[in-house]
């Protein structure tokens, strides 16, 4: 009997466990297996294999029963996920339905999730800007949250490392607010976007319009072909999964790469309940899961654990990992676990029309667009709000057909649209300030379908965000007007936090164990063999899309962890 137990334990023991297979978990798995560690990857959702599990990827518009529209049944059953811009008839299979994983909105929060191998890396918006020292120095300079324990120079080589493998398109613009990377050729501008870029450059010294940097292969390198990935074909239906591997996802890239080492065991349908802490050894020894099919609890063991369950679920797992030593959640000596959660403010937008450049138009489609890096409060505090915002920008030539009347005339005008003027638009991406009052916690009574406490989410905008919305609208109006754009319309949709899908924090990094959960290696101050390298670890949010930074942190943390293991430190 004793031997049987020992054998079973040996069978369930690995060198490393990675919790989650999304953008950061995929990277942790690739790096750990690449360094020779036998790695168990736990994924709470089903398996999604590259290409074969993208059922809608080759469907033509007319092959969708409702031509893309959601049915009333789906919308009524899913008021939250139906708000997501990427959720439609062709992508429904990759999003968590509202009833599948209930949570409590102490304040309105739209929690957008993808529970499957690959996580949200299948449906992400693929924007990949580096963060700069203006971001990493932000909390210290402006006196909020805590100082980041790293600076840009610590992360720069790891940005380069992940960019080369993932394949990032972009232009070297030489801006200190948005450091250049290892870029594949940039996407093309259209004439009106060029016009706007010139207009802004002529008017402002510190404002720039650049081509977006995105995880699309515009010119495959040998490393991409080795992954079985090919050039982006400009279909712009990325969220259905790409049979060409034209954009980066765990499914097309890191997970199959890790599998090729022979060192990875991928276990889908494994809902992580908690991390096991051994009080005698003073370290984490493994992970408890609930098998989603059998509902049985099971344990797996490893020397090192990477937590990559996506920001809020990583918080949930740590809060649910209690012991005598850590009654308030694993590693939570400071009491900050679950607190100082922040997100990106996407509330505002602007649109207008332009009647210049009528001799030109565009051909084909572009899975990317121009980008305006943050220009507010960069070098010094200059407004009545802290931090700033980046903005997306794009122009499109509109073709219109007269849809009045009926009969042969209507048919003729539908089939012979006239090219109209240009439509231009922008949306804001604002930094929000992490605050103790924006938090997640476990509910004391309500459980999810697996018997795990439900997450209670209490996150809201504040006065700083409102001021930022107003400033974005004023500044963009000025910039649009200067460029000759007409009929300017402003939008503030007051969307709930969460719909930006950039929630971050709760397990923040910091220099001081008294005020943070993780050190500069994303390693838990109090439990040295647990690393958190997803959005939960972020001390502040910057204005940039965060995924590339999660990738760089993951690769860097694995490098440190494996070296530390060899020295016997972990």
């Amino acid at each position: 009997m004793a031997n049987l137990t020992i054998d079973a334990k040996a069978q369930n023991t690995y060198d490393a466990i990675v919790i989650g297979s999304g953008i950061s978990g995929g990277w942790a798995a690739k790096e750990l297996t690449g360094k020779g560690l036998r790695t168990l990857v736990l994924e709470r959702g089903r398996d999604v294999r590259h290409v074969t599990d993208y059922p809608t990827t080759m469907m033509q518009p007319w092959e969708f029963e409702h031509r893309g529209q959601l049915t009333k049944e789906v919308k009524d059953a899913n008021p939250i996920i139906s708000k997501c811009y990427a959720f439609y008839e062709g992508t429904q299979q990759f999003f968590v339905k509202d009833a599948e994983h209930p949570y409590i909105q102490e304040k309105p929060f739209d929690w957008i999730r993808g529970y499957q191998v690959g996580g949200k890396s299948l449906m992400w918006a693929r924007q990949t800007q580096r963060w700069s020292d203006f971001d990493f120095q932000g909390p210290a300079r402006d006196g909020f949250a805590v100082d980041w324990p790293i600076r840009y120079a610590d992360l720069a080589p790891w940005y380069s490392y992940v960019e080369r493998f993932a394949g990032i398109t972009g232009n070297k613009d030489g801006l200190d607010t948005l450091p250049d990377g290892e870029f594949l050729p940039p996407h093309e501008w259209n004439c009106v976007e060029k016009h706007f870029q010139k207009s802004i450059a002529g008017r402002y010294k510190d404002r720039h319009v650049i081509m977006g940097r995105a995880a699309h292969i515009t010119k495959p390198q040998p490393i991409h072909l080795q992954q079985g990935r090919a050039q982006c074909q400009h279909r712009t239906i990325c969220e259905r999964g790409c049979p060409f591997g034209g954009y980066f996802s765990s499914n097309s890239s890191t997970i199959p790469w890790a599998a090729k080492t022979g060192k990875m065991t991928l276990r889908p349908n494994s809902v992580v309940h908690s991390i096991i802490y051994d009080e005698q050894k003073g370290r984490a020894t493994g992970v408890r899961i609930i098998d989603a099919n059998t509902k049985q609890m099971q344990e797996f063991y490893a020397r090192v654990i990477f937590l990559n369950a996506a920001a809020l679920n990583s918080n949930l797992i740590l809060l649910n990992s209690t012991s005598n030593r850590f009654p308030n959640g694993l590693g939570n000596d400071s009491g900050v676990l679950g607190k100082y959660v922040a997100f990106h403010n996407y509330r505002a937008g602007i649109s207008a029309e332009y009647d210049g450049n009528l001799e030109s138009t565009t051909d084909g489609r572009r899975p990317n667009g121009p980008y305006i890096p943050r220009f507010r409060n960069v070098y010094k505090q200059e407004t009545d709000f802290l931090r700033g915002y980046a903005a997306g920008f794009s122009a499109n030539r509109i073709s219109r057909s007269n849809q009045s009347g009926l009969g042969a005339d209507l048919k003729h005008s539908l089939l012979n649209p006239e090219l109209g003027g240009w439509s231009v638009g922008s949306h804001m991406m604002g930094e929000t300030i992490p605050k103790e009052s924006n938090y997640v916690a476990l509910d004391k009574s309500l459980k999810d379908p697996f018997g795990i406490p439900q997450l209670k989410i209490s996150i809201d905008y504040d006065d700083n965000d409102d001021k930022m919305v107003k400033d974005y609208q004023e500044q963009m109006t000025e910039m649009f007007t200067a460029a000759g754009f007409k009929n300017i319309r402003l939008r503030d949709d007051h969307r709930n936090p969460g719909l930006d899908i950039h929630e971050m924090g709760g397990v923040r990094m910091g220099k001081d164990p008294k005020t943070s959960m993780l050190n500069k290696w994303n390693q838990m101050h109090a439990v040295k063999n647990v690393f958190v390298t997803d959005g939960a670890s972020m001390t502040s949010t910057s204005t940039q899309n965060p995924s590339l930074t999660y990738m760089a942190f993951s690769a860097r943390a694995v490098d440190y962890a494996v070296k530390a293991m060899k020295k016997g430190l972990v």
Partner: protein
């Protein structure tokens, strides 16, 4: 065309062998008589010319499918009522079913409906017309033969001269 330059991709069987079927399933939302009438209305809105009209492209089946699955029961009832009204109006004005009226009569009747003071009638007409236009423009025939939809453009050129004849590009 730079399709998949530099790499061979093996697509699974379902991706290479799919057939371009349009909507095949007609739900029981309308009686077959009302379904036929809806087809005649759609055909009046977008008639056959030197190319097929809405009815030959089964646009009315698409409309039924979308109204049955994507709209609430009040809207569904309004579509049923609207169809009944069209038939009554045809009898009253022309002394024969809508299906047997000539195209000028049919167009006159629908034009009148579009200008109705009755909000429900106007709503019926604008819903059916909107879905007719959408179903037609998104049909395989139109996207393949007339507007030349490219699923895989393989490029984005930012500044090209306006072509002599514009073609629409729907996503």
């Amino acid at each position: 065309m730079a399709v998949a330059a530099g790499a061979l991709i093996n697509l699974p069987a379902w991706a290479t062998n799919w057939t371009a079927e349009t909507v095949k399933h007609t739900p029981n939302f309308l009686s077959s008589g009302q379904g036929d009438l809806l087809g005649d209305i759609a055909e009046t809105i977008i008639p056959a010319t030197d190319t097929p009209g809405a009815k030959a492209l089964n646009v009315h089946q698409f409309i039924q499918k979308v109204v049955a699955d994507c709209y609430d029961s009040a809207t569904q009832n309004n579509v049923r009522n609207g169809l009944t009204l069209v038939e009554e109006q045809a009898q009253k004005s022309f002394g024969k079913p809508f299906a047997q009226a000539d195209s000028a009569q049919r167009m006159a009747l629908l034009t009148q409906l579009s200008k109705s003071d009755d909000a429900a009638q106007k709503e019926f007409y604008s819903l059916v017309k909107g879905l007719t236009v959408r179903g037609y423009m998104n049909s395989e025939y139109v996207m393949t033969n007339l507007t030349h939809y490219q699923m895989i453009p393989g490029h984005y050129y930012g500044c090209v001269p306006v072509p002599t004849k514009a073609v629409s590009q729907t996503k």
